[in-house]
Assembly symmetry: C3
Homo-oligomer: 257 residues x 3
Amino acid sequence: MSNIFCKVTDQIAFVTLSNPGKLNALDVSMWTELREQFNILSLNEDLRCIILNGADGNFAAGADIEEFATVRNNISNGMFYHNNTVALALQAISDCRHPVIAAIEGICVGGGLEIACSCDIRISTPTARFGIPVNRLGFPLAPEELRGLIELTGKAVALEIVLEGRVFDALEAKDKGLLHRLSDNVPDEALTTALRIAKGAPMAARINKQLVKRLTASSAPLSEDEAHQVFAFLESNDYREGVASFLGKRSPQFTGK
Amino acid sequence: MSNIFCKVTDQIAFVTLSNPGKLNALDVSMWTELREQFNILSLNEDLRCIILNGADGNFAAGADIEEFATVRNNISNGMFYHNNTVALALQAISDCRHPVIAAIEGICVGGGLEIACSCDIRISTPTARFGIPVNRLGFPLAPEELRGLIELTGKAVALEIVLEGRVFDALEAKDKGLLHRLSDNVPDEALTTALRIAKGAPMAARINKQLVKRLTASSAPLSEDEAHQVFAFLESNDYREGVASFLGKRSPQFTGK
Amino acid sequence: MSNIFCKVTDQIAFVTLSNPGKLNALDVSMWTELREQFNILSLNEDLRCIILNGADGNFAAGADIEEFATVRNNISNGMFYHNNTVALALQAISDCRHPVIAAIEGICVGGGLEIACSCDIRISTPTARFGIPVNRLGFPLAPEELRGLIELTGKAVALEIVLEGRVFDALEAKDKGLLHRLSDNVPDEALTTALRIAKGAPMAARINKQLVKRLTASSAPLSEDEAHQVFAFLESNDYREGVASFLGKRSPQFTGK
């Protein structure tokens, strides 16, 4: 069963994404639980740092595509899915008062990469795999999720990632600005980093995190009209073809309609 | 004769900068034709990707300096040259609904680099040469052209490039954020990339491209007063000396006047 | 005695940070003199470039912590210290009409790194050391100083630097976007670069520098309320503990209060 596991030790909390047999792909219940867990951890005054990882050797494979037929198949429920379910979970991580470290192994694509991008520090094994191949599924990246990517990589690399939809290795991910460092022992390096952060003054960490966010507040959010246009693809043939071909394990035939 | 060649195959278009004997330096007729070609290609619903390159082993050497005595020798025609002739061509590339790949070999400096910066993905041979050595010609980079550079490299590297005016190799250009990747076979790698992009849903590519642009809209355009000040150099002694010394193949003597 | 030395040659000025026995840590008199020297140099029409370095093999170790008990021990004098003493000195460097090169050797941390970040080009020995370990002293980075860091490294790396408070080497500093280039002979490379800049038209350099600044003007300055909150740490126990433990050469015991 899909789950978000949470273990709190003395000053460090461990949050683990788990969806056995699906490379920890996130379904709606996981997005919701992720948000709730981070909201609770944020209030814990004793914490100094949170480590976020995935179960069984993978970070996360993205959203659970099988759910799309019910939770994201028209403009109205698609906007709710992205603006509420996904965006609020990502925001709970980036708004969390404690520093959050993503400890990445295995697959880290789509929604998994978006979760990593919402953390403050990203550490990965050299063998992990990254990318946002949603163009093959017939859809663009949702605006607020794209914004999180651009904030890390800049405009040019973000464009390359979404236009090509290529899956690439950790060395390229580091070069693209997606990772802070590589390590052959990610759990160890993540813990060492968390303990290093825990040695600083907690108030300094919180203010530093808030200030960086405040000073990098970027362009205005989309207007309702803009958002409607951007999500109109949800009622296109190519979107349905993309998801159907993925679930049917065949190549999509896109027509531009 | 100077020209912009355009060849449309099935789903991929090839646009080629050509000015034989001048390293494909762009004169006014080429800037104008470049804009028109991209405006036409943008309307072609069958296209999936455009590859932009230069003829005869070079991308482009910048603007055609010989024209400056007539098309850019006072504030009034200089502002028209930059805000209309050049800026509208660059904008036609970045506004084009289809993804655009710059396939770079040989010389890619000044206006040539600006054209490359307007594309979505930049692929180069290791032997190509980059830079914006216009300070040696007695003038600063025009504001909207500088903005395109900053969006790729950030503030610090953009400053280095324009203040030093150094010409550097492709490895350094990659390190500076100007290139996505190097390849010993640029035509092949560009085509492979174009075909990879063509496999995604066209609507996803278009929305992704528009959204990245929307979410990175940066500082306000210059006011008329600001622009006038910035282009006032066009009536300075150092500007005339810079262009004259370049055409006369001698070192400029700048005085700060 | 602490000092800012200034030597003007033909077209190049050399400014040197000096505080013997304190790794050139900056006290209030040095911040003030730094501002005054750059204001004077900015008016010198004959100059083409300024090289800023540190005496005796180090750039600068940051602010002089021993002064904090008198000049920065409550919200009111702390805000004056940062918004006037420090910020105006950094601004005098970045607003200086001439290009400024930081020539970095040895220690370049805290306020020293902030000074380097205010320069236009940063050249360093491979053996120099970088970082902002102020979290160990019980305080966050001041907002306008954090902004200068973010403008060079982006959001993700700035967060890593202030949250971890780690001191790192020049290779990592280059990888993080803090440096333009490494050299085994920094004085030589800085002078070569200054002379290269001096070969361009002075008006081009000044307009390029101003334009980059104009086009990268980022988020609004903090409101008075925001600033007050951000500086409230100055009256916390952890801040006093951080400074006291540093001066007493012992480990701090932080409580989050």
